[in-house]
């Protein structure tokens, strides 16, 4: 038996031992006020996983507290909802603290067939996932649920997301029983919107049958821009999802921002660095080198091309600093103030949004940045298939967006641009329209007007793009380095750091530890627990954990399986 297998087995046995011991203790008993009531609801279709009691049993069977402390090395938090911790999570959620006895009782009540073997799939290739799946397999076995797990490769979309024929009745378009994956959300609605039927009544999710209650609860979270009302709607939806175990949230992954101690944000905010927020990079400083130059070294430089900022707005440093957004937000992504736009106004009903651009805005090549660029960018983004889901929702909510996409009109009727002002009229309310404009960046029309939206990333523009942000490209040697320098005509002033040198890497940089140890990495962020441990051990590095909306979840296929041919 391989050594790593033995380690996993021993760890799992230890987890089980500690967990089973805890299961008999007072701690494992669910608090009376939050314990979900064990309803007598039976299966709603031929699939026993449609039985609430079975799903509750699975939730009770998993000891995520111990898994977070051991397998995940204390760098993850057990999840009790898809929604991350914070003001948007209701305090009175149904809790499923580890309780194998309760799980067994529920399974007995549901007449669970202990010979049934569940098929669990996942798409991560790391050992950590295998270890966690092994632990879950053992926890399930301890309560009488047999489960096998496997990694899926290839056409993930077809295997994960094949939709059922009917949103309520199925049959299932997928073969698996359980899927382990993650949901990262820019807007909290992203966690739940797919659980509702589409406007034409079609299914949007592969594993969970829709129903009228869920549809209306989800609709409520999307139907208002009023923060208090939105929160109320979210609380109701979260409670419904948790008490009905529509999925099994496992843990919240944290983001770790690492910085060399020679870097000083000078009071700049810390937040979710996977997105754009007002982090005050103009005021950042680093200790000057022997030549008196302030040079910041970082990663995520280009290997073959610069990534466009419309599918993912900020996972690479270039996406963050080369292009400016219309408005900005705080670390929790709540919109705060204008950037390219000197002012903005959202009507009380949320159906009209107006931006006034600053005077004299320029692209990095010196040409003027106008409302025409913004209008063209929105229209082009509408045709860009991998546009970020939040942006897509906003732009598709515009008046005339559908006609434009169907080729009936030359432009989107809901966008009017005049002078320095651009106005967006919505056909349907999008509660996250402001959030979109904190993240989405307009691009220069004159360079990209002829680009095919389907092959947008393949346009030559992305070899040396022209931006509008606080830093511009000084020189780039693909796969060697990128040097960015402050943009002198930036509306907000000139950044203090003289150069940002980016070494090429993916967003998941394999060389973080080596380069940080060699003082060639002053800033970055990671979710890799192993790297974090090493970075924390370096005396010249600071590591800061940040809560982010990134939840690892076990999805349960509750649709009936199609009849065997």
């Amino acid at each position: 038996m391989r050594k790593d297998r033995i380690v996993v087995l021993v760890t799992t046995m230890l987890l089980l031992a500690t967990g089973l011991f805890a299961g008999g203790s007072k701690e494992a008993a669910p608090a009376a006020s939050t314990a979900p009531t064990s309803t007598a609801v039976g299966p709603t279709n031929s699939n026993p996983l449609s039985d609430l009691r079975v799903r509750q049993a699975m939730a009770y069977a998993i000891d995520m507290k111990t898994a977070c402390a051991t397998l995940l090395q204390g760098m993850a938090l057990p999840a009790d909802s898809d929604i991350p911790n914070g003001p948007w999570k209701t305090p009175d959620l149904s809790k499923y603290e580890y309780n194998p006895e309760k799980a067994k009782a529920l399974l007995k009540e549901a007449k669970w067939d202990s010979n049934r073997v569940l098929d669990l799939i996942y798409y991560y290739a790391d050992q950590e996932t295998v270890d966690l799946m092994t632990a879950i397999q053992q926890w399930f076995a301890a309560v009488g649920i047999k489960m096998k797990f496997r990694q899926i490769t290839g056409d993930l979309a077809a295997q994960l997301n094949a939709l059922p024929a009917d949103a309520e009745k199925g049959p299932s378009g997928i073969t698996w029983d359980l899927a382990y994956g993650a949901k990262a959300a820019l807007a909290l609605q992203e966690y739940y919107n797919a659980y509702a039927r589409s406007v034409d009544g079609k299914p949007q999710i592969a594993h969970t049958p829709a129903n009228a209650t869920m549809d209306s609860l989800i609709a409520a979270t999307n139907s208002t821009s009023d923060i208090a009302k939105q929160k109320e709607a979210f609380f109701a939806l979260e409670k419904y999802m948790a008490s009905n175990v529509k999925d099994i949230p496992l843990y919240y992954q944290q983001l770790f921002i690492y910085e060399n101690k020679r870097l000083n944000r000078n009071g700049g905010l810390y937040g979710n660095d996977q997105y754009n927020y007002d982090w005050g990079i103009l005021n950042w400083t680093v200790t000057a080198d022997a030549n008196g130059k302030q040079i910041l070294y970082t990663n995520t430089g280009p290997k073959q091309f610069f990534f466009e900022p419309w599918s993912d707005p900020a996972i690479h440093i270039t996406r963050k600093v080369l292009w400016d957004r219309l408005i900005t937000c705080d670390g929790s992504l709540t919109p705060t103030t204008g950037k390219l736009a000197s002012s903005y106004k959202l009507s009380a009903d949320g159906m009209n949004l107006t931006f006034t651009l600053r005077d004299g805005l320029k692209w990095h090549d010196g040409s003027p940045l106008t409302v025409d660029d913004v209008k063209w960018s929105v229209e082009t983004a509408l045709k860009f298939p991998t546009l970020n889901a939040v942006f897509k929702k906003t732009f598709n909510s515009l008046k005339g967006a559908k006609d434009y996409l169907e080729g009936k009109t030359p432009g989107v009727a809901g966008i009017t641009a005049s002078g320095n002002t651009i106005t967006f009229d919505f056909a349907s309310l999008d509660p996250n329209c402001l959030l979109t404009f904190t993240q989405w960046a307009p691009l220069p029309k004159k360079y990209l007007a002829k680009a095919d939206p389907l092959k947008f990333q393949q346009d030559p523009f992305w070899q040396n793009p022209v931006g509008s942000g606080p830093y511009r490209i000084d020189k780039v040697s693909m796969n060697d380095y990128l040097v960015m320098v402050p943009y002198k005509d930036y509306w907000g002033g000139v950044a203090k750091i003289d150069q940002i040198v980016c070494y090429p890497s993916d967003d998941n940089d394999a060389n973080v530890v080596k380069n940080a140890a060699a003082q060639k990495l002053d800033y970055g962020f990671t979710k890799n627990v192993g790297d974090v441990k090493s970075l924390q051990a370096m005396s010249h590095m600071n590591v800061k954990a940040v809560d982010i909306p990134y939840t690892r979840i076990l999805w349960v296929n509750q649709f009936p399986k199609p009849a065997a041919k």
Partner: protein, 319 residues
């Protein structure tokens, strides 16, 4: 001889395309596609099937396997290797940009390992049984046994993190202008690569030298009164070189294909690194171009080895 060479070269052409077809088939049978890589499973959840299909269509991924292969082959015949699926950059440009880095690293490593491996192996054979011979044998075994990545990481710990003599990785820094500016970046990866290669050459040349030193013609040379250095280094070494040349010949394709592990450890932007990235991202056109030239290099190397063997060893005849 000329007819033999022409015949051998002509055989290489169909062989090259058969191997390329097998590589293409292998890629086709590998689960996954470039779109899955570009979008990722989490973002994929937000993509409608029609949008996914349109994207695949735009990238030419919806065509049957054989059509895609023939289109690729047709392009190659015209000198067009296609475009990167991720960036739209012509594959030729990507490879030409990476090739100098790989040639530089592999060329230096090959040269160092050949020169030092042959010399040390010869010395080891001539001083058979001495402390020096035993030390070199042990060093050779260690060199063969230690994986490149362990060697590389150890070198980084010592020469970068402890002594601060050499950079951690990369090939060119922003202020580098001349070759000598970036020479420090080349030192560690080339020495690590050479060190792991030198052991093989040394072992080959030692045993080959020992073998040739026992031959009749060496005894004859000695009996003729030739100086010992001439017996060893002219008569003995020339014949002993034969298996070493075969080994080096088979390492020649590395000049084009790159050294994946060393390039990864030292963040060296060569073909090897690019190939790994291309395989991860299912960038078929790029994988095929690198595979095509690697196969081509292997076939040509094997052809050249045959020629060299015949030239060095009079017993070998072309047939």
């Amino acid at each position: 001889m000329f007819a033999y060479m022409v015949r051998r070269l002509l055989i290489l052409i169909p062989l090259l395309f058969v191997i390329c077809f097998l590589v293409y088939l292998g890629m086709f049978l590998t689960p996954g596609d470039p779109v899955s890589y570009m979008i990722g499973p989490e973002a994929m959840q937000n993509l409608k099937p029609a949008e996914l299909e349109a994207l695949k269509e735009a990238l030419g991924l919806n065509q049957p396997f054989i059509i895609r292969f023939l289109l690729w082959l047709g392009g190659v015949m015209k000198g067009d290797f296609g475009y990167s699926l991720q960036s739209g950059v012509p594959i030729k440009n990507i490879v030409l940009a990476r090739l100098p880095a790989t040639l530089e690293l592999s060329g230096v490593a090959l040269l160092l390992s050949t020169v030092f491996g042959s010399l040390l192996g010869t010395v080891s054979a001539l001083k058979r049984g001495s402390i020096g011979d035993n030390a070199l044998t042990v060093a050779g075994m260690i060199g063969v046994s230690i994986p490149q990545f362990v060697f590389g990481l150890a070198a980084i710990v010592v020469f970068t993190l402890k002594l601060h003599w050499l950079p951690v990785g990369g090939r060119i820094e922003p202020d580098d202008v001349t070759f000598w500016d970036r020479f420090p970046n080349l030192v560690m990866p080339s020495l690590v690569l050479a060190a792991t290669m030198v052991a093989g050459v040394m072992r080959y040349s030692r045993s080959s030298m020992l073998d040739s030193m026992n031959r009749e013609f060496i005894k004859t040379a000695r009996s003729k009164g030739l100086p010992e250095w001439r017996v060893n280094f002219v008569h003995g070494f020339r014949v002993a070189l034969l298996p070493v040349i075969v080994l080096i010949g088979f390492r020649l394709p590395m000049l084009l294909g790159g050294s994946v592990i060393v390039e990864q450890v030292f963040q060296w932007p060569g073909i090897g690194n690019e190939f790994v990235a291309a395989v991860r991202s299912y960038n078929y056109p790029l994988i095929m171009m690198i595979a095509f030239f690697s196969v081509f290099a292997v076939l040509i190397a094997s052809f050249l080895i045959d020629l060299l063997t015949a030239w060095l060893d009079p017993r070998v005849k072309f047939e």
